[in-house]
Symmetry: C2
Subunit: 341 residues, 2 copies
């Protein structure tokens, strides 16, 4: 790594002069034009990067907690908005005590990005969307700073999860209460164990009822995926009379397919989705979407709170919190009296 000293040595100047020029104060401090030129050229040639840490340290600025948020950079990026919203409001409420860095990564490659070295650069970490493989890496690593996992289970780290069982249970119970017979499930490939819990509990609860075994179609976690999956369901005889989707994206895609096929919702088929998207979108699609609502903003705030508490007490004892996931009845599966669950 090139430093100011290196440049100074190369040009037989003092670090002071180099510093002044590189900060753009050469003219004001009357450094010879030619000297300035040589310094800039050498800086570029050596690929000099100012060390921002040294700068900050030198200025002794009021310390902030540096929080790193690891988020996967695939199509789940649009789920980041709500999570960030929660963090943002928490940060502002706390008088900007925290500086938030977003670190993108690819699943199964967390180990390349979250290293012992990188951990030194932050006070605490929130890890979102790790794959099973990433989780294995985490379970076998020792980082000596507070870490909280969002939406994952672990004994080693603090966790903020939601009630995955209820997410699967509620739709099954509601469909049963509505006297449905032919359930269907549009699910995306499980990227973490919680998703299996949701769909397994759903299927188990269905089997406990008087309904048929659900038709289960695996689709990609996009609107296109939901659209394609719903078209598949339309070919079935009989048509399913109720449908559980594991994400808003899937449900929204399905809505379009059913509309195009002339299938009426909820008359012919009721739909409940896992409400992981924007609530506004769930309300303003046609028909509006009944969901088991995921409290992403609150969970984000809780992640920050756990880290904040750890940091201020110097106690890194893992703490786990599971959030309830309330059912919100809308047009795609209206509330009846019976579903006081």
């Amino acid at each position: 790594m090139t430093t100011i000293k290196d440049i100074a040595a190369r040009l037989e100047l003092s670090p002071s002069t180099v510093s002044i020029v590189l900060k753009g104060n050469g003219d004001r401090r009357k450094i010879k034009k030619e000297t300035q030129q040589r310094i800039l050229e050498t800086a570029m040639e050596l690929g000099y990067k100012p060390n921002i840490q040294a700068k900050i340290l030198r200025g002794s600025l009021s310390a902030k907690y540096n929080i790193s948020l690891y988020w996967v950079s695939d199509n789940r990026i649009h789920l980041l908005s709500r999570f960030l919203k929660g963090l943002q409001t928490a940060i502002m409420d706390n008088g900007y005590q925290f500086q938030l860095s977003i670190v993108p990564y690819e699943n199964n490659h967390l180990m390349d990005i979250l290293t012992q070295e990188s951990v030194i650069t932050t006070n605490a970490i929130i890890i979102c969307n790790p794959s099973e493989f990433d989780m294995e890496y985490l379970e076998n690593s020792e980082f000596h700073i507070p870490i909280v996992l969002y939406n994952r289970y672990s004994k080693k780290y603090s966790t903020v999860t939601m009630d995955d069982k209820t997410i699967g249970l509620l739709p099954a119970k509601i469909f049963a209460a509505h006297g449905k017979k032919h359930p269907a499930l549009l699910k995306s490939p499980a990227t973490f164990s919680g998703m299996n819990i949701r769909t397994n509990v759903f299927e188990f609860q269905i089997s406990e009822s008087e309904m048929e075994r659900p038709v289960s179609v695996i689709v990609e976690d996009t609107m296109r995926g939901g659209y394609v999956g719903a078209l598949t369901l339309c070919d079935l005889n009989p048509l399913p009379d109720c449908l559980f989707c594991t994400s808003d994206s899937i449900a929204l895609g399905a809505l379009k397919a059913f509309y195009e096929q002339g299938i009426r919702i909820p008359d012919q088929i009721e739909i409940i989705s896992v409400g992981n998207g924007r609530p506004e979108q769930e309300e303003y699609c046609v028909p509006s979407l009944s969901v088991v609502s995921l409290p992403l903003e609150d969970m984000a705030r809780e992640c920050l709170k756990i880290l904040s508490d750890s940091l201020s007490t110097f106690q890194y004892i893992p703490k786990s919190i599971a959030f309830p996931t309330p059912y919100i009845a809308r047009e795609s599966c209206p509330a009846l009296q019976e579903n006081a669950l």
Copy 2:
């Protein structure tokens, strides 16, 4: 600000001992339990925060460019996804040379957050969604680091904008080419001058055509806003036969209102929106939405590129780039032969 030295002085210990305990290595280094306890208590009492900069500096880690992204923390937060996506991919493509911090702020309060002091903590800045008042603050300030404004005009700073004129022009031309007579406009209150350009150009171009003056309704920039605005339009006689919406949110809300009122799209009314949302959502709503598409991801990448170039050459000369905004015809306003514009 409490430092390790302060704690050491208070307890008549050396900074070394305090450092060891606070890092959680007390047991391994066999520091007396009682000493550890006293250190932790004093640290909490004094509200000690480890100075992460000193830590990093001491470890002499490979330097990264620290980029701060200022983004308003209101309902525009959901627009951050696409922008971030662009930045994320750029960061990953560049081998993680950059560390990205997200700084939330409230409009008209940029001056409280983006201060001379805060500027020291970063290598370069991307500023998004400043209000006119925030812009005034920026124009009257001197920050000696590279800054790029996203979607704002300035002579002082680098800018990455889109072609606001075309955004207003295209819909007017297309509606004219389709022989429409009764145009309408659902617009949110302008939060920056570019928005006025879009709607003014639209209205001007309409006045140049054979159409009536457009009915213009100001609504909030949400689906609810679009829904309410569209209901207002439904009461008009004659019903507008074409509609320009200044955001996807507004258009999506309007779609629901028209659906509920039994108004057929595009037969009775064609709709074109400013495509600032997720393209997938524009495709899978009913009917799919024709938009003037905003290349947010590309613009984000360009912001980073400008900063990156400035940083590596030590040249902070403002640079301005405007991106084209292509029209994407979908069901809400299908392409005809005529609109080869």
